[in-house]
Symmetry: C2
Subunit: 196 residues, 2 copies
């Protein structure tokens, strides 16, 4: 092997993916070109292919990296002994933080998954459906245990996840608002709707 990493403790592949995530968010996957990406990496377009296999491989990497992170976090919460309302709060806070400090990645997994080629597309959608189902199961349990008010669980999941993913349109307009304030405001609203 020749030199395996550039400056900073990251592979060139990781650099490419990082720059790509920025570009994909700004322009959208379809409108972002490899020559565009190459320029941001500081290399010719063809050279990218020494590190990646294709444009859509980048998208796959990003989407499944995010998906896996959410799923493994959910597993920890599921296994915990918290009451259901607290579980939901934990998950909500986690989503908000992911959104805030891995913004580019989360955004792409949220908005650009459409451009995944099969079979990755189906795979991704299955994981997403499964994830949502498990969240609504928590709420369902919460209602059954009398810890939450009777509300349609899937609607609640939809509202919660959508509200959080909408933070992107906030970021730009109110960079000033600090993260903790945003998080606590948001949790307040979303949890209030679940509380009995």
């Amino acid at each position: 092997m020749a030199k395996i990493q550039s400056r900073r403790n990251s592979t060139k592949k990781e650099v490419i993916i990082e720059k790509a995530s920025r570009l994909f968010r700004e322009k959208g996957f379809g409108a972002a070109s490899m020559r565009d990406l190459a320029e941001h990496v500081g290399v010719e377009a063809a050279s990218l292919y020494n590190h990646i296999q294709s444009k859509s491989e980048i998208l796959q990497t990003i989407c499944f990296k995010v998906a896996n992170e959410f799923i493994s976090n959910l597993e920890v919460v599921e296994a915990s002994l918290q009451p259901t309302l607290k579980k939901m709060e934990t998950i909500i806070r986690l989503h908000i933080r992911m959104m805030l400090d891995q913004y580019e990645y989360v955004y792409i997994a949220d908005h650009e998954w459409r451009h995944l080629p099969e079979p990755y597309l189906s795979n991704f959608l299955n994981q997403r459906r499964n994830y949502r189902k498990r969240l609504s199961d928590i709420i369902e349990t919460g209602i059954a245990k009398g810890e939450m008010k009777a509300i349609d669980p899937y609607t609640a999941v939809l509202v919660i996840l959508s509200a959080i993913s909408g933070i992107d349109s906030w970021q730009r307009s109110r960079k000033s608002t600090n993260a903790e304030t945003l998080e606590s405001n948001m949790v307040k609203y979303l949890i209030e709707g679940l509380k009995k």
Copy 2:
């Protein structure tokens, strides 16, 4: 003038825009091609230009059509004498209905506005910012009047609008759920978080 309308009471331009809205939603603005669109309209790509000026003119038409509809609806609500909580409920129901029966258009205005060329882009974002500000003003008034609980108004607006725009990811997975049920579930959750 030659024949000014095709079958149905719609101009060919309207047909093009309607077909385009479907295509733009499915593939994204960048990935949808004029040849693709032409095929759906039943015509050669070049012939489209007898009715429209450019690809992005279609996007502009869709985005501002939706924006204008929302704004003029808001004006009616603002001018009404309802209590603030009722105003918000009216607006929420209106958004949900727009989302359900003008799905394609609303989706594009929500997700594809990024591809608007300047100066339309700035224009659109200004209108959006203004719209959100006016919603948060209603909530602020509601809090001041003691009709709503003290919550950060802009956070509430963000949660509400994002939650509704997330209905798209619902539609596909639960076509069965009828519109009224969805609407009432959603209103229940979103209004509950505002009520004192």
